[in-house]
Symmetry: C2
Subunit: 519 residues, 2 copies
């Protein structure tokens, strides 16, 4: 088989692109900076959405939808906000296309005010909250939105940094500062639990420094993950916006004390970038490795046969296996359905209707080796091979994607849905443990700036140290090391703080941070 | 209670807006032509998405995501397509905002080519299919996309006609013309089944005339529904695009005969307009009436009490009722959750986790009459009232939204999830039957153009007649009657065709159509 994926050690950025290409997760589009999320990639987003949405609803949130276009003047109402976003906005200026004298189509119908494609929706949502919120009885407002946003980026990278991306943005309004802070931290916890439980990606929770916070926020909290190349990736952020946007948009309510007060708002977001994180956290030189909970197909079954007789024999055995794994009703239902992928000779059997996860049987007219390669590169947790000899011994070969191990399994009564669920859970746990072991091994502690520089230069990863956040010093360190403060972790601060010396200034400080180069 | 909804007979368009406002389904946004879909309205879209998405997946489709922005030149590649959309496009021309000499923000960073916010995605998707499809082995491609689109409309109407709206657009590519036609009709059937089974809206299936078809399609099929004011509403369309877009975007494949051929493509879409259809098909002068399958909350329970003792007594009884309806585990889980709506004193209990439907108990500090009014206007299938006297007789009052009937129900062992499901199914069926009776009563047959004119003028509705589709004649009839050919129904044509005379020209024709004024 031709190698179509470069080794991580050889060229990590190229490896990342190769993995995406081989698994058909995404593609470049004809529009600069915009990507196409192909069905295999979008299925991951659907899995992420489904899991997160339940967590949002269980914490009392509801979904809504606000306009894509925002009047340019709205962005300008919050000073930091416009500073942060003005330079990377897609601007709508016209309402039609007309043929000019040269026969070419040109914009026509100029708008009175330019409109900005939302880079984030604090402003447009704030303007609506001002209308909806009158009394403390109208609070809290707990709304989330699933949508597309645009930020014109100079250098783009599939999933990680694209002009348009998909995300969810929560926007809440509260009666008190305390309640807003509790909400901000609750949603950070939701993100952390989701990343660790669902995507098997261990994360560090903490606060951003002022230099790294969201434009317009009082405090930004984040979850930071470590990729296999030792670079950090910000995987979700939760912002306490204080009364900044409430003041900019006049979100006021009559309080219990009969006085008018500005609401306290928060916002929090997680995007398709998380797909990039999942790819980079777990995949190997053979291609994609998916955490079982997020895998659209949990298993691919590849039949091996040379004659119609062998095919019949193998097919009967696979049906037996399927009946044990998904039940007779689903086997019958699947027989009536078209294949779940482009090619109808891929038969799809739902293993879990609620999570939309399936087992696929690959009856395509290709060589078995090609099929194994195909599914391996797509990161399915398990592949099964069944040939005539396996049928004779009432067994099948189970291949585990994570460690590429092979095992002959007897098709006894114990091979059922619970067995498969157990196998999947074990892989899910092993993937988290593996990523966590790697992450923990890559958090080193520096006692001086020289040490920090040396560590970052020698081998990327997180570097923990005492440091007082400071815009000027952070800028200088970034210039010299390309590393930034990823976060001020909860684990080393607050009631866990210890006294120490700022590695840059030498001053006494109890603040500890994590530095790293990042995506 | 102050009347906040005008009667249908008095002012139908205002009634529609009043219903939406009272149920808090949507709101106008500060951006002209763009609406905000509020949580109550968005929950309907989520229900629609969930149900349709299963139908798409069961027919072998997968979801993907393509860019929001399309190069203007792409739209121009298909002549009819650009004609149809050029005059109502949002055009992106710049990539940032900069302060001018006057201190005001103005667009800067002009793009080389203007980009159009997708009004529909045949062109951008076609350009990708050209890249992905090489051989007949790559076919069929069966992709759907859930997204936002923009068409700058002159007159907007909440849900029915807004500049930005949400929809799904399926785009498929096939090896043969036959297969593409089968797909086109299959998706029309999916839409019809969805509208009738899920939203309880009876629809007529048929083809559009050339004058009314999608710009660039060979044939457009549609489902047409009748609203209570007798106007028709196009509720979903499925287009056989022939090889038009394949030729415009060079989607070619090497066939089984080793020759290069253009693929045959289809597209089909259904939008948030369907929420407008649902509102208009079923609601009454008291406000929204939701089909049970689409209702986010299937029941609201309103406690009545005057003292803490009465509250305790009523609360215990409601808990008993809830345990019987949703089970003890869910009652315990709900106790830990925040309220599902903005106000935490609204307790939400999941009745069906898979469909995300719940029962809400309204403990807010309002008068019971106000609460009844609140939930009535939100269209919940059932409301329950429980006061101390009801508890004494171990009963509750069940109010049915559809016919506004009241019934005293004993809380026996038979009051359980199955009982509620049965009640909901009965309402679902009754709503469909009611809408169908209305629809059928409003299809009249005209034998002459004078009859058609008279019928349309006297009382809106569908008018059936023999007519040969013809752009010029349709335009004249539209001018005189404001009615258009809604469709050429399958039910009166094909093998069900009968000979007759064209009501406009008097010529012999076997084609029968439905005329109506429409949304």
């Amino acid at each position: 088989m031709a190698r179509n994926i470069v080794a991580r050690t050889k060229d990590y950025p190229q490896w990342y692109i190769d993995v995406i290409k081989a698994a058909e997760l995404a593609d470049y589009s004809p529009v600069r900076g915009c990507m196409v999320i192909r069905p295999n990639g979008y299925a991951l987003w659907e899995a992420i959405q489904a899991d997160l949405d339940v967590r949002f609803k269980e914490t009392g949130h509801v979904n809504a939808y606000f306009p894509l276009l925002i009047p340019a003047s709205f962005l300008a109402r919050e000073a930091e906000h416009i500073e942060g976003f003005a330079m990377e906005c897609a601007i709508v200026t016209h309402s039609k296309l007309q043929k000019g004298a040269d026969g070419k189509l040109a914009p026509a119908g100029e708008l009175e005010e330019p409109l900005v494609i939302r880079p984030t929706s604090e402003t447009i949502i704030g303007s609506m909250y001002a209308k909806w919120i009158q009394s403390y009885r109208d609070l809290p407002v707990l709304i989330n939105q699933w949508c597309n946003v645009m930020r014109w980026e100079m250098r783009t990278r599939l999933f990680l940094r694209t002009a348009e991306f998909l995300w969810q943005e929560g926007h809440t309004a509260h009666e008190t500062a305390d309640e807003a802070q509790r909400e901000t931290l609750q949603m950070l916890d939701v993100y952390a639990a989701f990343a660790e439980e669902f995507l098997a990606i261990p994360v560090v929770k903490g606060a951003k420094t002022d230099a790294e916070k969201f434009p317009g926020a009082v405090t930004t909290y984040c979850i930071e993950a470590l990729m296999q190349d030792g670079k950090a990736l910000q995987a979700g952020t939760s912002h306490n916006l204080g009364q900044n946007f409430a003041k900019a948009f006049d979100i006021k309510f009559l309080g219990r004390d009969q006085k008018l007060a500005h609401a306290w708002t928060t916002s929090w977001g997680l995007s398709t970038r998380m797909i990039g994180a999942t790819i980079m956290a777990h995949s190997d030189d053979e291609g994609l490795v998916l955490p079982p909970k997020a895998a659209p197909h949990v298993m691919a079954i590849v039949p091996i046969f040379k004659s119609p007789e062998e095919q019949a024999k193998v097919s009967a055995f696979i049906t037996r296996l399927l009946v044990q794994l998904v039940g007779e009703a689903e086997v019958a239902a699947a027989a009536k359905r078209v294949g779940g992928e482009a090619n109808a000779s891929l038969a799809r059997y739902f293993f879990d209707k609620q999570t939309n996860q399936s087992i696929v049987v690959d009856w395509r007219d290709n060589r078995p080796g090609d099929k194994q390669f195909h599914w391996e590169q797509r990161g399915l947790p398990f592949r099964v091979e069944v040939g005539p000899r396996d049928v004779d011994s009432s067994a099948f070969v189970l291949k585990k994607r994570l460690d590429r191990s092979k095992e002959v399994v007897q098709l006894g009564a114990g091979i059922n849905a619970d067995w498969l669920r157990g196998q999947l859970d074990a892989v899910q746990k092993a993937m988290f443990d593996k990523a966590k072991t790697f992450r923990d091994a890559n958090i080193r502690t520096a006692a001086s700036y020289d040490e920090l520089k040396k560590m970052i230069a020698e081998q990327p990863g997180f570097v923990r140290c005492h440091f007082t956040p400071d815009r000027a010093n952070e800028a200088k360190i970034k210039e010299e090391t390309k590393a930034t403060v990823r976060c001020i972790p909860f684990d080393y601060n607050g009631d866990k703080a210890t006294a120490g010396k700022d590695i840059y200034t030498g001053a006494e400080t109890s603040t500890q941070v994590l530095f790293a180069q990042s995506y």
